[in-house]
Symmetry: C2
Subunit: 316 residues, 2 copies
């Protein structure tokens, strides 16, 4: 067990990307969504898996990031996804971010080839860092083997930290495997390498082991409550809860209940359907292929299940 | 069993991409390599898996294709890979090809999201076809589940053929699963949908079931012999072989022996190492990350094993 001390944490959302009738990204709507997230104290991990980032071109991502920064959203709360299959694309996106004053990025490994070596993945990250050539860069590795099928091992993190201290700044662990998150919290968080859980399911356990917070899909729809647990973790942990645990345990349980509903549906279309309903904006339900929107029956079932637990999205 | 008649076939190579010291694509060297392949009667499936195509940006691929066409290489022998994660990128690459007079393309499905539905994949291909909006387009689907992790099912092919006859022109089956290739030969080849085996291992069986040929990595290093079997299949099948089979069987066995050596090494770096040795051009061994070149011991072992079977690449 780690002897780490629980601290207050940070929550970011892989912001879902709105599309117009031609499936072009809707920058104005994205700006409004990001403003609402920031108002709920949730940071902007735009261009994540849940943002359908890999269904966007490099140019589309650049233009959206320019729109967000141009709208005055806080660059220090951003962590755009910049990891592409081609390292030259990753360099371009990182440079574009830095030119806009955005220093934190979340970076997938190149994900087309499978079964690649740590040597090859190290070289990919090294070439990006050398190509960007900007000491301000802060890379958060993105470990999401269920989707990327290219895991980031502890041995690789160790090598990257040794070679690029400071620039290699943390990780999002979307493995869904708590033992992996715990390993990284134990081995790397003490070196100032920020470990973010890949879902709020593991938010409290992550904070209790000294982690940084979470970057979670569901923060798109339940931002206020998730951010409140992270922001007030120390105080909630010190307060008595209702069921023999702490108030933090109660807050975590409430988050889990909401997430469990969304997890019963295809996550990205379900979140967009919920936002479409809350904002009374059916356009929000659009996704780019290969994803498909919820069908009418699914959307109705989702609404019913959310109503049943008394959950609604407010302020949209 | 199919009652198809064996016919002479076509061989294409997913041409390996040469890189300069900065790992920028070397267009001149690629042009020379493609010319050598054409001289060996092998078509140019540039920007395939073995081309490290997903380690190239859209812009890099466009510029390379312009160089190949500009150098006078035959557009009717080309089948560039144009399938990207973002359908907008696939549209851009298809349009660029058509503007250059290249009508045949080989198209991966969007490959970031896993477990996607046939509805979503159908929509992805449909949006590309509608977006390109050019009746000359001839799409060959690219089924390579070991790498893409996104299979193309028979049901999906059926829907695409029904909706886009003519434009949906064929498939490369790199599943490595002969029963899948046989299913497609049986169901779809009679409709004029050209089935290419994903390796020359299945070249003769594919031709015997009426298939179109193969698109194979090893055609980068053994082009003449592979193309000769495909080009002369009817005559070779009518001639007596040495071991009780036909002369085509003997030719297939000779191809298999060469491939079996390359398959004992990481395929892409091994082919580049063999080309580097044959061309006396060490630069050819370069790969982009996440791949890594063969180390010295591997390169030596490969050379030894190829020497042992009396194989060499000539004319480079």
């Amino acid at each position: 067990m780690s002897s780490a001390t629980l601290r207050n944490g940070e929550v970011l959302s892989p912001v879902v990307t709105p599309f117009d009738a031609d499936l072009a990204p809707d920058a104005d709507r994205l700006v409004a969504q990001c403003r609402w997230l920031i108002d709920n104290d949730v940071g902007l991990a735009v261009f994540g898996t849940n943002s359908e980032a890999n269904s966007l071109s490099v140019g589309e991502k650049r233009r959206l990031l320019e729109a967000l920064v141009g709208a005055g959203l806080p660059v220090q709360r951003m962590m755009p996804g910049t990891g592409c299959c081609a390292y030259v694309d990753s360099i371009e996106l990182c440079r574009a971010a830095l030119e806009l004053g955005v220093t934190r990025v979340l970076m997938l490994p190149p994900f087309y080839y499978k079964g690649v070596s740590d040597d090859g993945l190290f070289d990919a990250y090294a070439r990006i860092i050398d190509g960007v050539a900007d000491e301000r860069l802060r890379i958060h590795l993105y470990h999401i083997p269920p989707v990327s099928q290219v895991p980031i091992s502890g041995a690789l993190i160790e090598r990257l930290l040794a070679r690029f201290p400071g620039i290699i700044a943390g990780i999002k662990d979307s493995s869904g495997d708590w033992s992996n998150t715990a390993m990284m919290l134990e081995r790397f968080q003490p070196q100032g390498f920020d470990v973010y859980a890949g879902s709020e399911t593991f938010l409290l356990p992550t904070l209790r082991q000294g982690g940084a917070g979470c970057i979670s899909a569901t923060a798109n729809v339940n931002p206020g409550a998730i951010a409140a647990l992270a922001r007030n973790a120390v105080a909630l942990e010190a307060a008595q809860g209702r069921n023999g645990g702490t108030a933090a345990d109660d807050a975590q349980a409430a988050l889990d209940q909401v997430r469990s509903v969304f997890q019963r549906f295809p996550m990205i279309p379900a979140m967009k359907a919920a936002i479409a309903r809350a904002a009374n904006a059916p356009d929000w339900a659009r996704v780019r292929p290969p994803l498909v929107p919820l069908d009418a029956a699914q959307a109705e079932a989702l609404a019913r299940e959310l109503d049943a637990i008394g959950f609604s999205i407010s302020g949209l």
